[in-house]
């Protein structure tokens, strides 16, 4: 798949948060086959310099870095954060999160759209974290986004695809836009389902980082994403309401 002119061999992207240790993070990224990882910014202490060490770990992974604007609640905050991220991580990519609700961490469509517009005009390549709302998606595309990141379910919920009908509508409405399901994926079967529905990639974090064995779970998600993509291309059967026999009935012994 291509996003903003970059060709990716893997359709799985990983967050880097919440891992038990840097070593486990590194192993999970490697097992996942991910070529894109998300990172963030925080206040850096001059003495501890925790961020500098983390950044070295990420650079050693040799993957594309997708900074996010997690925690921002307004377009203004998100825009400033994006600019700081561009300088720190030396990339025009930005995963644009503008949170509108403390409980569900749902994106704010109004602030998101405004930030997407400003950042796109400023040369950013915006990956907006959005809902399944078709109209918001349309506005984001008009604002200059070339990729969409609809949620599967609220961040960290692990619920999978909470509104399959809405996601299917979104996928159908903008068939040619690369879409990455971001947030809410809890199990490999969720990821496979999203890929079977025609989404282009999966971004997840909690489901791997908080699993009992993160590296093994990363491998499981890698397989599931590949499985779902392959199934999409292999033209699956339709579900039927009534049963049909899979073993031919002609030539049946004991038939009269």
């Amino acid at each position: 798949m291509q996003v903003y002119g970059v060709t990716l061999g893997s359709r799985l992207m990983l967050g880097t948060s919440q891992y038990p240790s840097p070593a486990v993070l590194t192993e999970a990224v490697q097992r996942s086959g991910a070529e894109v990882v998300t990172v963030s910014l925080r206040r850096e202490s001059a003495t501890a310099r925790a961020g500098q060490a983390f950044w070295q770990i990420i650079r050693d992974l040799g993957v594309h870095v997708l900074p996010n604007t997690a925690g921002c609640h307004s377009a203004r905050e998100a825009i400033t954060t994006a600019k700081m991220a561009r300088e720190v991580f030396a990339t025009n990519w930005i995963k644009l999160e503008v949170i509108g609700d403390h409980d569900t961490l749902q994106p704010d469509p109004f602030e998101l759209m405004e930030a997407a517009r400003v950042l796109s005009q400023d040369g950013f390549e915006v990956f907006p974290y959005t809902t399944e709302d078709c109209v918001v998606a349309d506005r984001l595309l008009q604002a200059g986004c070339r990729v969409l990141m609809p949620w599967g379910a609220p961040i960290g919920s692990g619920r999978g695809l909470n509104n399959p009908y809405g996601l299917r509508s979104l996928r159908a409405r903008f068939a040619d836009v690369p879409m990455v399901i971001d947030a809410g994926i809890g199990l490999p079967s969720h990821a496979a389902q999203a890929m079977e529905m025609g989404f282009d990639a999966i971004l997840l974090n909690t489901a791997i980082a908080k699993a009992g064995n993160p590296a093994a779970m990363a491998g499981a998600f890698r397989l599931a994403v590949e499985a779902g993509r392959a199934a999409r291309l292999a033209d699956p059967i339709d579900a039927r309401d009534m049963a049909v026999p899979s073993t031919p009935v002609f030539g049946q012994a004991f038939a009269s």
Partner: protein
Amino acid sequence: MRISVNGAAQEVGETSLAALLEHLGYSGACVATAVNGAFASASARGQTMIQNGDEIEIVGPMQGG
């Protein structure tokens, strides 16, 4: 002057943002800065003079989802 750096109050003399960073010990660190909520690029830090009451943010890489 009284400013805040990453949310903590600081007393500083007249200084540029660049000098402040060096003074605070960030030399060589990969960080980005904002003054009063607006991005201050690395290349502009030398010309950015700190004002009384400024709120400075100095951020570095961290894990993200």
